[in-house]
């Protein structure tokens, strides 16, 4: 059997972003690579269920997310693999001028609840619409919106990003955000 070369190319084109998403989710490059590999294997095995003309990228993200979720649940029983180790295991060396900022951001991101982190990344970095992100996560669009919003609020708080000029009362905002924390 062979796959339509176009489909294969589309898959391959989606890999970098898919992998970045996997790293963001798992916090671990090796695990991310395994996830991507498994995703591609499943995608090919189920290629007949892919609707031509629909978003290949979203389809692959959905598979990967589901894999991660089921694996994550398993692993969680074995190891207490929560927020603390997430930040430590991520060892990517970005070629970035502001490495400190990167590290800070990574740490802050690791403190977000899983569902908020994935929603934020899908919408804010992977380039999916709210609707697509909702499909990938299997939830309502409104849920994605509120997760993204909460994620942003929390990040702003953790990174001490505020803007008095824009908002007028950052003290009050902080208080609201702090009260909102979950």
């Amino acid at each position: 059997m062979s796959i339509d070369p176009n489909l294969r190319d589309t898959m391959l084109a989606a890999v970098p972003s898919l992998r970045a998403f996997a790293i963001s989710l798992s916090g671990n490059v090796d695990r991310a690579d395994d996830l991507v590999q498994e995703t591609l294997l499943r995608a090919i095995a189920n290629i007949h269920s892919f609707q031509p003309g629909t978003n290949m990228s979203a389809w692959l993200f959905t598979i990967l997310r589901n894999l991660f979720r089921s694996e994550y649940r398993k692993r969680r029983r074995e190891v207490e693999d929560s927020d603390g180790s997430y930040a430590e295991t991520l060892k990517t060396q970005p070629e970035q001028s502001s490495r400190v900022e990167f590290e800070e951001f990574k740490t802050a991101l690791s403190k977000l609840p899983e569902d908020q982190r994935e929603a934020l990344i899908l919408v804010g970095a992977s380039g999916f619409s709210y609707e697509e992100a909702a499909e990938i996560c299997g939830c309502a669009v409104g849920t994605i919106k509120s997760r993204v919003n909460r994620a942003r609020n929390r990040l702003a708080q953790l990174l001490h990003i505020d803007n008095a000029n824009d908002f007028g009362a950052d003290q009050a905002t902080r208080a609201v955000l702090a009260g909102n924390g979950g």
Partner: protein, 79 residues
């Protein structure tokens, strides 16, 4: 997996979280809203973070897809 129809219907009516807030405070519909500059800054950092992860994509996935394709067409016959 059963997707409920909420997928589209709920999009338009997020619950008003604080119905008694003043109009000036209701900038977003899903909770306390951040200023645009703050959002922009977070967005920028998020993309920088993500872009940092995009860079070195191993060849193994291209190889994998070629191999899975059964008959390797153009690439992979040498290695």
């Amino acid at each position: 997996m059963s997707e409920d129809d909420d997928l589209t219907s709920k999009a338009e009516n997020d619950r008003p979280m604080h119905s008694n807030t003043k109009p000036s405070e209701k900038r977003g519909r899903t909770g306390p809203s951040l200023g645009r500059d703050v959002q922009a800054k977070i967005g920028q950092q998020l993309r920088a973070y993500y872009d940092g992860l995009l860079e070195p994509t191993p060849d193994r996935f291209a190889d994998l897809l070629s191999k899975l394709d059964g008959k390797v067409s153009d690439k992979g016959s040498g290695e």
